[in-house]
């Protein structure tokens, strides 16, 4: 089955590819970002579509997808939360924040492993994972919800209620 990419999205992707006049392969990350932004994650069809778009063997795309923590191979929730786990945020309470977010959003993280870092709520509304350093160490604990950045998070109910 091949990926049915809307023409608007393909146009955006084609424009991105022009940013790399020397080597189309350089556009692997931007193409994957655009696809993940639209579909939520990168599946096999997306890998093949990207490979065809950039005249690459699919393995050259797959090895990128599997390396970078920023690419997901399974569906996240409607709102994907990334909680910073690294030292300054941990000192400011990011583990407690993770626990509280899971508790309120009904997410069970017991199945989380290094290669399977994302846990999704049963209703599919929220998913969550720990991220390494989000570079706002002075305002911890911080998290990203989709593309929105939140610092010094203390009101978990308030945060979740933004996303319905």
């Amino acid at each position: 089955m091949s990926l049915d990419v809307p023409s608007e999205l393909e146009k955006e992707i084609d424009e991105r590819v022009t940013h790399y006049p020397v080597s189309k392969r350089s556009a692997v990350l931007p193409v994957l970002h655009a696809l993940q932004h639209h579909y939520g994650f990168i599946n096999e069809e997306a890998v093949e579509w990207t490979a065809a778009k950039l005249d690459l063997e699919p393995i050259k795309v797959l090895e990128v997808v599997t390396f970078y923590p920023g690419f997901r191979q399974s569906a996240p929730g409607k709102f994907h939360i990334r909680v910073c786990r690294t030292l300054s945020c941990a000192m400011a309470g990011s583990y407690e924040l993770m626990e509280s977010l899971c508790d309120k959003a009904g997410i069970d993280r017991s199945g989380v492993t290094h290669h399977n870092p994302i846990a999704v709520s049963p209703d599919g509304k929220f998913s969550i994972e720990f991220a390494e350093c989000l570079a706002s160490c002075g305002t911890g604990p911080v998290c990203l919800v989709n593309d929105d950045f939140h610092e010094a998070v203390s009101d978990v109910d308030g945060l979740l209620s933004h996303y319905q």
Partner: protein, 464 residues
Amino acid sequence: MSAIYKSGKEPHAKEHRIIFKNVDREGWDPSLSMYETEGGYDQLKKAIKMEPSAITDEVKKAGLRGRGGAGFPAGVKWGFLPPNNEKPVYLICNADESEPGTFKDRYIIHQDPHQLVEGMVISCFAVGANLAYIYIREEFPEGAQILEKAIAEAHEKGYLGKDILGSGFDLEIYVHRGAGAYICGEETGLIESLEGKRPYPRIKPPYFPAAMGLYLCPTIVNNVETLCHVKHILEAGGEEWSKIGTPNNTGTRILCVSGDVQKPGYFEVEVGKVTMGELINDMCGGLKEGRSLKAVIPGGSSAKVLRADEVFTVGRGDDARELTIWDIPMDFDTLAACGSMAGSGGVIVIDDSRSISWVLNNINNFYAHESCGQCTPCREGSLWMKKITDRVVAGKASPSDIDTLDSVARNIDGRTICAFGEAASWPTESFVEKFRDELVADTNPELEDDLLNAEALTAAANLG
């Protein structure tokens, strides 16, 4: 025009704002029209009338040292471009800000993106690059949009694109988003990533980017803060700019303080003019109520830890003097003389409420997660260090595990393609050296004879 800052965000009296002049300013916005109200792009107009080599000379005279972590002189780096080069030259702005404890580039990008764009255009003109990329970490989605907007605005005004301001100089800058990997902050890993590959760092020699970088062409990779400084160096003149700060540690730099202080935050100071004590006690409002200082990680989480009660001897011969942790001037050379580094400027303060085992374990988790896996000592060792400190924290380690931990670290350091090996092992090496007693106290002597943990026993059984 003197700047007015938002209430509660005023710079501290000991700050010297150049790069962060417009951060948290009342009424300031990231648009080009705002930037132009205060001389925006005037330095570019000046630069394009200069000989490119004269710009490099000013940067050399200024003594500008790279703000990303290594502190290498930027002008010297530019000077490594091969003479009589006929290949295209590329410039890459490293905006992968990812060393734990560092959070300065975020504010430049969000609040003053044109400062970076102008610094980049001038730098590209100086090194002869017609194509440049800003490699920005994926976790700054808003930052990437702000930069793309700034680039479009600059294009429209003729500060970018073909024949910039009638100079005959062409330049395109594109924003390239990473995908959440710390190793992309390493310049050769970044280049591999920009080529669309896994970001496995390249070995140096021969792959020094200035000689063989992006697409194997000469490439200059500079940090956001470094490129911003180029504009100000041109404005002041290299000689004059070098009077800011202290000899061999010139200019300002942004220190980011996090952890156990009253008021964490960012402070732009003259390099070497502020001590650790002034930074923590005056600028950050001191430690938390009733707490005392245990340790400081002075330059991002890979910098070696400094213990609160250490006495450091710096200087040689007649210049030798003893410093306590509070007396250390925050500059490149003194922090190196104290056995650590100024690194990326990320200062993490640790008070007596913290368990050293827990802190080290958190750091080890980070490096185990971020090792790219290319070199065996780092790939395996970073995970072993994490597993050992996991056990220490859980009270399931034996005292001799601390020796094993140290030995693993010392077998990574110096045995890898890139400096990640040092970054991953220095925390463990320094924590074991300086806090051995505390780490050992968290172990269980009764486990000393259990040489194999359950995992190892299973593995051994499977070997038959």
